[in-house]
Amino acid sequence: MSAAQEIQKPAGSGMQIKAAEMTISHVDKTYGEKQFATEVVKNCSFTIERGKLTVMIGPSGCGKSTLIRLLAGFEKPTSGSISIDGNKVTGPGRDRLVVFQESALFPWMSTYDNIMYGPKARGENTPEMRDRAEFLLDKVGLQRFRSKYPPQLSGGMQRRAELARAMINNPEVMILDEPFRGLDHMTKELMWKYYATLYEESHRTNFFVTTDIDEAIFLADRLLIMSNKPTQVRAVLDVDLPRPRSLSNIVDDDRANQIKMEALAILHEEAMRSFAGGSKAASDFIQAYSDRVGKSGK
């Protein structure tokens, strides 16, 4: 396929992990025409580094989901280019899989059938793939729920099933669009641990979009902070905390708190700017983040 680099093969999965690098250069995305045109993304450039977990954080409604649709190839940029290992992205492909905001599991298929959807769709219903499905079912703790339908699963289980469904296809880049949004806090923390372990075992290229600063710092290798519309990268922070990470360590860690305060300062500034521009989303955002700064300051 592409010049993806083989990193490692975790025991039992039978998967050759491939990790690719994505380059986004000078991407513009405009909706509508002439006087009705809205620039959602403007001159946006960044790299999703090979084998790293890149987290993108920015205020709600800042155009993150648009960027994801562009990365996935569901939409085309108005100008600029997106490439994966040097090959231009022209449409959706199994090298880049998207895990969506709310569950996009097929409700008419059992957990197992959902996970096997990709392999079956490509005519790869092989013993090797079935083994891989079993491995992933164990990995995400859904072995007992394999024949349940998605509506019978809890929110957290649905997200885990979705992670497994994406990973069985062995994507070179995994794109996650606020995958844990809407879960309660306890479940969310549990999901962070699951997800971090899955990442640490494979070191795929992961691109994770969120609005939650704690989630971002706990998970990220690199943190991209986005500006409000039109979307651009406002700052890039390296989250150089050792792995495996644990939640209790992160809360006490000085370096983690330093990164968090740095990130919040930029986000706050960004929110103030769009608030001055009269954005409703921005005023909500300021509200939310000043609460957080207050909390973490005590």
């Binding site: 008419w108 339908y149 998605p150």
Partner: protein, 284 residues
Amino acid sequence: MNASTIVANRPMGRLRKSIFHDTGSRRAIVSLILFLVFWEVGSQSKAWFGVQLPWIGMVPAPTAVFSAWGPLLLDPSYWQSWWQSSYRVFFGFIAAMILGIPFGLLMAVSKNYRDTVFPVFEIFRPIPPLAWVPAAIIFWPTQEMSIAFVTFYGAFFTVVLNVIGGARSIDVRYFQSARSMGANGWDIFRRIILPGTLPSIVIGATVGMGITWEVVVAAEMISGGGNSMGGAGGGLGFFIWNSYVGGSYPQIVVGMISIGIAGYISSTIIRWIGSRATPWLRMR
């Protein structure tokens, strides 16, 4: 704790439980008895109180209806009417499903097809099935085919509209997920569009089944006994009409209740098949 819990644990128990749900069935029996008592008192009002209540005072009493029904149960021609109406409904309904589901799916997935066909579809749709009866009798060689056509016509549009609505309301993210996992068009059709539309197909079928009963009865009344035209004629609609012409009013009510029972049985069957076909909705 009670009999229905035990029944529910046996095979087929789930079906029985859904029909004879414990407290539900008790309420159903009470409501039926109250209804019959009210009806009996109402229609006997002239004889018992000397004052005839409006409307209900002119309806044959349940006792009269049941005593007319008793001999009919042993009369093969009564069961012949059941059979004739049932198979007309069955064939009209099956034809509507067989033609309507692919037609609706095509309209949903192909814009070219939709643009071409939709205007004609929309012109035909508001024409009531009964307006087709005279034309159908002229167009189709046998009376049986005319009735079957009108029955089919009644259910077809409902089935098609439900299929289109169902297919078009499938979450776009399902298509995006499937595409990025490497699914081709046929796979998306077979494993996303088809099961995603199934709940709406079931709704279309349930509503469509109701319409076929309405239409078949009316068509049978209009087309009559049919012997002079070489057709089979008959059916529950004709049974009612014939009873009216012959002046046996309790039999009219027997015919009406028969249709009610037949319709109820039909929708129960559709609901049962529908819930088997969409297990993910049952488990919610």
